[in-house]
Symmetry: C2
Subunit: 329 residues, 2 copies
Amino acid sequence: MEFSRRHALAGAAALAASPLISAAPARAAVPLADKQAPSFYRYKIGDAQVNAISDGASTFPLPDSLVLNVKKDEVNAALERAFMPKDKMTIHFAPLVINTGGKLVVIDTGNGPGAFASSKGNVGQFTSNMTAAGFDPKAVDTVVISHFHGDHINGLLTADGAATFPNAEVLVPAVEWKYWMDDGEMSRAPAGRMADQFKNIRRIFDAGLKKKVTPYEWGKDVAPGLLAVESIGHTPGHTSYVLSSGSDKLFIQSDVTNHPALFAVNPGWHLMFDQDPAQAETTRRKVYDMLVADRMRVQGFHYPFPANGFVEKDGNGYRLVPAPWSPVI
Amino acid sequence: MEFSRRHALAGAAALAASPLISAAPARAAVPLADKQAPSFYRYKIGDAQVNAISDGASTFPLPDSLVLNVKKDEVNAALERAFMPKDKMTIHFAPLVINTGGKLVVIDTGNGPGAFASSKGNVGQFTSNMTAAGFDPKAVDTVVISHFHGDHINGLLTADGAATFPNAEVLVPAVEWKYWMDDGEMSRAPAGRMADQFKNIRRIFDAGLKKKVTPYEWGKDVAPGLLAVESIGHTPGHTSYVLSSGSDKLFIQSDVTNHPALFAVNPGWHLMFDQDPAQAETTRRKVYDMLVADRMRVQGFHYPFPANGFVEKDGNGYRLVPAPWSPVI
């Protein structure tokens, strides 16, 4: 039996006495990589191709009131059970690019260039990851918006305030549009987060897009095979989608739950970002019961990337079972 | 309120009556992407950087005896509970590139170029994905082999039969080396899988590497911070590792379980590829009880990509909780 030169030189006794590593030949160290893999992932639903494109993730100290109806300790316990660090929260953002075969459709647009700058690149990665995935924002036919929170609409504009998707029609939920563009609602919004949201929404749609949007109704296709379905509570016009192609179906939940380790496991927990928490809970239970009954694959905007899987019942709540990553499409 | 030109032209009534999609302007369809994202993923353990690099995945009809001690129906039921298709099995392969800061270390090498050709690219992707991740095979200092099954060693050689990692020392478990290089053991191996394994191992290490390997002992570091630990059963010299840096630790299990949805959930199931199934079960229970007790992150060669997470106890078995993908390192 012939071993390597080093082993032969060291001899069996010396080898046993000293760690192997000490005799390794000198070589310049390879620098540590400074960039994650471009975070996109593709899968097929029938003839359509779904591309989950990461906009990045945001980590922040756990607010006292992330969950309105349970104590912070209980939230920390749930984080720990899910092997997540205590006293902070990481939320991921996953807009979609769907190629229906005929149309290139974006669903939601991420936190946008302002957030990219202020977060030092942690969020606002949608267009760069989309480009890494081979998609030119100019080639997008349709942008579908699920609701008007900043992490879904701010990517509609470039850093210069121009349209990020200059050739795309922008489709918005009619109910959402009516609510947020109503000056009376805006005037009655409490100062702080609600008033800020109205302001941000006007910035995007008035100043930015000059109101060039097309409102859509629930129960109708917004793109080939992409059905808009009402899933209100998170916002007044919050919308989910069913993508169908052949016999294959995908439920695109948008923000029916935030992180599944907290809000699928505990569907009765009320997230501070749910505008009507009781209605959001009703929607959540209805949607997740349907996902369990139909065993339908689900894509979630705030699920851990690549943000899709299946839902099973677990005690009084639900568990997301991530779909396995396939290294080929 | 000003809507888009199309909406204005169509009018609200017409819009309500017809799907939005019918009036979309003509545009050349963007072709469907034909390639998955390069499947690599990086994370830190202390100062070390772990890169899970996909070698691809193999899908095959469910053998009658994939699990020796349960009926095929029961395996199918477990697949279905895990939202995996029945009557077939997909196994993923995830070699590692670890940058310790000083050394570039590969653990296991995937199915190799022959399998790439015969599988039409489904497996044998390790070196191409490694290159996509920015690593030059020539820069690898050390290749550590966990055991001698083909999906772990065949990537040691290029299609021409040369060393894939020409500047690397190849470290092999001493016990594994002794067993498979023993001519008496080879002569007693039953025809079929066992005899084929001996032949393949000799092809790689005799004909290919001219026996230029360094055997290593359990309980010693094989690279800075990388401790080799005995985890026999799958093969006579099967090895796992603990990577430590600062207070951070990762257990690299190699093949202590195959797919966790089958063999972590059911640690008593005996995989047809476990050479000593009873010993493999003993090892599996010991390792998984330790992972639960220590809440240690674990990387598994056959876990779904990116093949790492945490283990929780679930009834009589265990559940792998995938670590969330971080879009930044």
